[in-house]
């Protein structure tokens, strides 16, 4: 092989650079996300009322589909009230209903979204709670 050492050296440098993220993060576990639900608004509620509009597991896995449905129902169909499976009624609004309790966008929304590397564009238009900007 002509100039073999140059090729081998190049390959080694290339692999070294490409594999950088692997050995840089080796042995370091990223802590799993821990969304905080202890906002003043939630803590004000009596113990028995401290739950989301639907069961926690459902909200964890399907909140994005639910919000997607909500925006179509509100904007396109003019339906504004959601009757949850326990019969309680809520105004369908991310900005005014969800964020009213979850007033900690950085510790609640961003916690998981950053961990899973998703960047929803909700906040390009919807105004996030003011507490975060302090």
């Amino acid at each position: 092989m002509y100039d073999g050492w140059k090729i081998i050296l190049g390959v080694i440098i290339f692999i070294g650079l490409m594999a950088f993220p692997i050995y840089y993060g080796f042995g370091k576990a990223t802590p799993p996300p821990d969304p905080k639900v202890d906002t003043p608004e939630i803590m004000k509620l009596p113990e028995s009322e401290r739950k989301c509009i639907e069961p926690k597991d459902f909200m964890k896995t399907a909140h994005m589909k639910m919000l997607d449905d909500w925006r179509d129902w509100v904007v396109r169909d003019g339906m504004t009230v959601f009757i949850a499976s326990d019969g309680k009624q809520y105004t369908m609004s991310l900005q005014n209903t969800c964020m009213n309790c979850h007033s900690n966008k950085k510790e609640f929304c961003d916690e998981c979204h950053n961990y899973t590397a998703v960047s929803p564009y909700c906040w390009d238009c919807h105004i996030e709670p003011k507490e975060n900007e302090l």
């Binding site: 904007v75 396109r76 003019g78 504004t80 009757i83 499976s85 105004t91 238009c125 105004i127």
Partner: protein
């Protein structure tokens, strides 16, 4: 490998059945709507067939104009922009002769000619903007409001070309950066760069049983109601007054009427 025609058809048939079964099983798994939940309207919501507005120009002075425009723009977080080409307009004043260019009356009284009239989206019954929108981001609701779904707008601006009233504005820049004091109403969203916006006849207030902000602030200079209902206040006013609309000859059937008191 050899296979006779009969075996081939059998295998093909069975795999089709299995494949279709597999797809429907997958669809069942991805369904995650809570079965027991449902949606409804707010019980106080205003419901109409064709919402419209009557503008009483005799009651519109500079002070009223300023008040209603400011109230609208504050309520909907509309940025105030100095550069005219990037201006965002929901409700805005325009000279009579520019608002009604087809009224070519040579000796029209100067104070009418140069008076300012309030303009807004006409919520046409036959809206050309809706017809050209490729994503149905702008659409006509059952109650006649020509609505914008900002989630769907791709910023192609066909609607702006189609609208003969100039009622639509494009966000060339991020409105939050253009106007740092933008978020005046924390209950209403802003818009983002690259979408078209316009008056939505306060659909969010109608859903709560309230009349549009401009009507509330106008002290009777703007009258809101259902044009489809012969007993509504707007229809009664139109029965008794001479009224004009902007560019009715284009056939878009605007729902905003102007009267002279």
């Amino acid at each position: 490998m050899s296979m006779d025609r009969r075996t081939f058809l059998k295998i093909a048939g069975i795999s089709t059945v299995l494949g279709v079964g597999g797809i429907s099983a997958g669809a069942g798994l991805s369904k995650n709507v809570v079965e027991a939940s449902s949606i409804t309207r707010n019980s106080e919501a205003l419901i109409g067939k064709r919402w419209g507005m009557v503008v009483d120009l005799s009651k519109f002075d500079d002070e009223t104009m300023k008040r209603v425009v400011e109230a609208c723009h504050r309520e909907h977080n509309v940025p105030s922009v100095d550069y005219e080409k990037h201006e965002i307009k929901w409700l805005w004043p325009e000279k009579f002769e520019h608002a009604f260019p087809e009224q070519e009356d040579e000796y029209l009284a100067e104070d009418i000619k140069h008076s300012y009239v309030p303009l807004l989206c006409n919520h046409c019954d036959n809206p050309p903007c809706v017809r050209v929108c490729p994503t149905q981001a702008t659409f006509k609701r059952e109650d006649g409001i020509v609505m914008m779904d900002m989630h769907r707008c791709i910023g192609c601006r066909f609607c702006m070309a189609a609208c003969p009233f100039g009622a639509r504005s494009f966000n060339y820049k991020d409105p939050r950066k253009l106007d740092p004091k933008l978020e005046k109403n924390p209950e209403f969203p802003t818009r983002m760069r690259g979408v078209v916006e316009k008056c939505t006849l306060c659909y969010e207030r109608l859903a709560k049983g309230l009349e549009p902000t401009c009507v509330k602030e106008s002290n009777g200079a703007l009258i809101f109601g259902d044009l489809d209902d012969p007993n509504s206040e707007v229809r009664k006013i139109l029965d008794e007054h001479y009224s004009i609309r902007r560019k009715p000859e284009l056939g878009t059937k605007p729902s905003v009427y102007y009267i002279f008191g």
